[in-house]
Amino acid sequence: MTDLKQVLVAEDDPGLNRLISFKLEKEGFKALSVFDGKAALKTALEEDIKAIILDIMMPFLDGIQVLKKVHSAKPQLPVLILSIKSRENDLHQALELGAKDYMTKPFQPDDLITRLKQIMEND
């Protein structure tokens, strides 16, 4: 069990969080679900995770702030941003800050896995 690659799912919407975690586990990952930015940061820094799927609009700490802090502590950790299209500036900023890729909502779960595997392989 501990051999499974752990992926952090930071998404405040419970439905989407469960959807992503479900798909990840189908694909043989172990999903660690968190629902706000503070928990995302804590888990990202403390746990042995291989990638983060990161929402931008989250309570307590937004995804951009989480990304900044995680990227300076673990620059190699691949981050995939998941946000809505009408916040293009956030998306561009996230890429500049070191996120490896981004997807906009709505998204297809298969796409998400394909992209996630891509950024994890490029590591």
């Binding site: 798909k23 009408s86 293009e88 500036n89 561009h92 981004y102 909502k105 709505p106 779960p109 992209r115």
Partner: protein, 387 residues
Amino acid sequence: MTDKKTKKNQKDQKPDSLLKYQSTFPKEVSFLINLLDQISDGIYITDPERKIMYWNKAAETITGYKQEEVLGKRCADSILEHTDLAGNKLCSTELCPLHKAMHSNKVPSEPLTLKALHKEGRLVIVEVGITPLHSISGTLIGGIEIFRDVSAKVELEEQKARFFSSLSHELKTPLANMQGYLDLILSGDAGEINELQQEFLNTIYNEEQKLANYIEDLLEMGRFEGTDYSYQQNVTNLSALIKSLIRSFKNEAAKKGLVLNHNIATGLGLLGDKERLSQAFSNLIGNAIKYTEAGTVSIEAWFDREEKELIVKISDSGIGIPETDLKNIFEMFYRVEHPGVRNKGGTGVGLYIVERVIRRHDGKISLESAPGEGSVFTVSLPGFIID
């Protein structure tokens, strides 16, 4: 006694400066002055050295300064102190729009949106029109600035933009849930489903996608319309912006079996609004993929040194646009009907937004297309190379 004296002095001062231009103006001047005082836009008249000779009642209301306080001064002397929306001062001789209008004949063709300083220290957003003033014989005798307080309007637009931004989030989260879970069921991740269930779920999925497209258009329009004031003027790296857009469309193109070619020169820069530009190019690339069933979508971008323009060319091998539709394609709510092609769900705001954004950046967009032969959109924007 002293009161009377002050009053007398003021009286002396006012007619004096008015007289100064009364001598160069037609005789109807006092009638005109009366008229100008009734107008709800702020108006002031200066001599060629930008010294204020007249200041109407509305100018007093908008700025808090009485005419007596400003006569003989320049608007740069702690009055108005125009800045652009980013806060850069425009008071030096080289930058002053009024000076440029009077002495280099550079009269702005559209009203400028600027900030102005109120006597109480707060900033007012004003729409400004400027024109030089010539005597009948043609010699320059001064300049006129007409300004309108649009602060309330701008505030309302900002509120609207914030509302649409949050509405966008609230509407898209349930949509993302529905699409995502349908995807999981349809792909068999949640167990087997029979053929009839598959068919019905596919119908829900297709209709839901149309709904998502309509909502996308609605939100795009909502956060776009009437927000001309909020355009940012920042150095924007167009190369990086387009590359990151291409990345976001990669999977969508791959899924349709399309080749997504790109050749983007590095360091393409322009002064503009990154979010709006992103919205425009996202619409263009998205359309190219949406309306192409097989073949290639190509995106090229380069710098035209002679014209000092950035050129972005987006070509596809898609269904194309009939000649009769070409002239209307950038109009709001205009949609091209393709016989035999399934309605993809859209309201015809995408290209309208594109054209508006490009024009707002002093750029141009052109289109070459024919049914069955694909489309080529070419955008040119004034720009430079970022070192």
